[in-house]
Symmetry: C2
Subunit: 389 residues, 2 copies
């Protein structure tokens, strides 16, 4: 095992002076076989930590990020991180996940583009980015890569594993794959297996990337900057962005307002513009600037393949393996991971007999509410950690 | 005014011998100014009729089709119509809209590609398809083109105007634009103005067509057959198809089942295939074979621009103009035109003081339920027509 350099240019590098934030990479040079059978010759996991690990390593909490998230769960904006941590109001000293008490670890997922090995990483054979050579990975592969990091950090058991959306998929896989290495779990706005509708949204996004001629089958890394599949990725993100929010939220935010461009001149043009279009354009463009299209495809496919029951005799038998206290959090307006999915999860765990709670956040904001309503999601987590640990 | 030849090759032509179905075209050579200010030198409206018009022309019902619908509301499959009428179980002799009693007219909308003037029609200047020269049209333009047809048919007043989805938008515009030419209305699974989320889905689809290099800015008609923007249009349709159905329906139909292609060989491939993907692919391909991409864009934009309040002092004042009995039908599982939109419409009309009913169909099928649950939608219509006419 050796510490490795960040494979993605432009990402935030270790040694950034900003306060308690740290960005490490852990490179394992043992071959890593992914669930599909393909073998990665080595694997790097980028991660950040907050707080101090106890002498007996009993206060470590793993926070798992969502689709286009990264290791920067908390902390200010800085080099390589144009925005503050995506859960900065939840994780920190004196906050809901209190880093005065807990040692919090947040890794970038396998397949990602923010420091961990992914399609943009150099292939060890030739130093050229993997591109189309990068294998499909699964949520289980992400978790197994995190388990290597865990060993590297000298942690035998997470006090809790916490995450929303795809982060919640990792939470469930942690509790099922490694029941002895987890003391409690908090899956948020997530599911036990991707539904047909979730898969549908996923594949539509992937097809829009594939349609972009600049995707070039996934091998676009020698293109000039800005000459990758920007529009295809932007459209994919826009599909997702609609599912991340809600009808009500969009009506509230945008209604039928036109942009300046839509108001003057060609008000009946085919590309005349409503405010909601500008919003989608903004989110599409923003993602293009910070995210690799191939990582978007690979991680999206991992979510579609997510099924805790695969190879384990089905959903119920897989959930039976969970032996630790659980807090499931749902969001009443979530159209992507509807609350019934978390309620179902919670019901199965009640039948299993583990200590189990379900909290449903009331919010107009849809799926993204766990990244918006920090108090509503943070308070139940803090109470849960207090009670069960 | 003169009868014109069908501008779109491959469409069903007049004179088809199959029973009561008829497919006419009415060509008006008066210039037709659309709402944007552009002027079409002439306009053709394709339409079909069923039943017999009374001597006093008092028994005519207008049925308005949705986005990719056409004039073939009823009747068997035949030349130019690979499928039976889209409302064949609702419209016909002895059926809910009984053509033994009513003379039913269903026109193809302006901007369409099934006989009425649209982007694929020859431009009168040069005989070359309009393509990118075709102006954006609005629901009001569609209705005004239908009003010309109405005059041609010698009908002074529709006994009822009935339609679902975009058809329902036309219904509302009929009642507001021509209050004296309508005796009752039945808007189904539709809205008074497109919401931000509806616009969002629309623009995402249009962008995927635009991303397809074979769209060529809209001027692709000289391409070889099959060399148009098939993939872009298929993706656009797939976005719509998800919104037309429901999470529950997809789970029920497909779950996480894999296709044969997904089950054998590369089960972890990036393009490995779930059944829901094959379903989306099927619907995308099916639309590509029967529909023109530019018509898809133009009609989709018309829906986004739909706002009965535009230029009329807002929603309430526009709805105030409606003076005739109304039956609004909503669908409880509709995620695209949620039932609250039809309830809101119905509430406004109750305040106006017109005779007004609201029926909500219970269905797991989502928006498309009005094209699936023929009895549930047909029965209230039949009762309503009996009561108010």
């Amino acid at each position: 095992m050796s510490s490795g350099a960040l494979p993605v240019s432009g990402a935030w590098r270790p040694g950034d002076p900003a306060g308690a934030r740290q960005f490490f990479t852990f490179a394992s040079d043992h071959p890593f076989a992914v669930e599909s059978g393909a073998v990665l010759r080595d694997v790097t996991v980028a991660y950040e930590t907050w707080g101090t690990l106890d002498a007996d390593a009993s206060n470590a909490i793993l926070v798992c990020h969502a689709w286009t998230g990264d290791s920067h769960a908390a902390g200010r904006a800085g080099v390589g991180h144009p925005a503050p941590g995506w859960w900065d109001e939840v994780v920190g000293p004196g906050k809901y996940i209190d880093t005065d008490r807990w040692f919090v670890v947040c890794p970038n997922v396998l397949g990602g583009c923010q420091g961990s090995t992914g399609p943009a990483s150099p292939h060890p054979d030739d130093g050229v980015p993997y591109g189309s050579r990068f294998p499909v990975v699964t949520i289980r592969d992400m978790v197994r890569a995190q388990a290597r990091l865990m060993g590297h950090l000298g942690i035998a058991q997470w006090a809790s594993v916490i995450g929303g959306s795809m982060g919640g998929m990792q939470v469930l896989e942690w509790a099922i794959t490694y029941p002895k290495r987890v003391r409690s779990i908090v899956p948020i706005a997530t599911c036990m297996q991707a539904s047909a509708q979730q898969i549908a949204w996923g594949v539509i996004g992937r097809r829009s990337v594939r349609l972009d001629p600049r995707w070039r089958g996934g091998d676009y890394y020698d293109a000039q900057p800005g000459d990758g599949p920007a529009e295809g990725l932007a459209i994919a993100r826009q599909v997702a962005q609609v599912t991340f929010r809600s009808d009500n939220a969009f009506t509230e935010l945008f209604g039928r307002n036109l942009t300046d461009r839509g108001r003057v001149g060609d008000t009946f043009g085919l590309w005349q513009e409503f405010e909601v279009e500008r919003y989608l354009q903004y989110h599409g463009d923003k993602l293009v600037r910070r995210f690799d299209a191939n990582s978007y495809l690979i991680i999206g496919k991992a979510m579609d393949l997510h099924d805790v029951g695969r190879g384990r005799g089905g959903l119920e038998r897989a959930m039976d393996r969970i032996t630790v206290p659980n807090l499931s959090i749902g969001i009443d307006s979530d159209m992507l991971y509807p609350a019934y999915q978390q309620r179902h999860m919670s019901e199965l765990l009640s039948e299993v007999g583990v200590r189990n709670e379900y909290v449903e956040i009331q919010s107009p904001h849809g799926h993204d509410a766990f990244l918006i309503h920090f108090d509503e999601v943070g308070e139940p987590i803090a109470r849960f950690l207090d009670r069960v640990l």
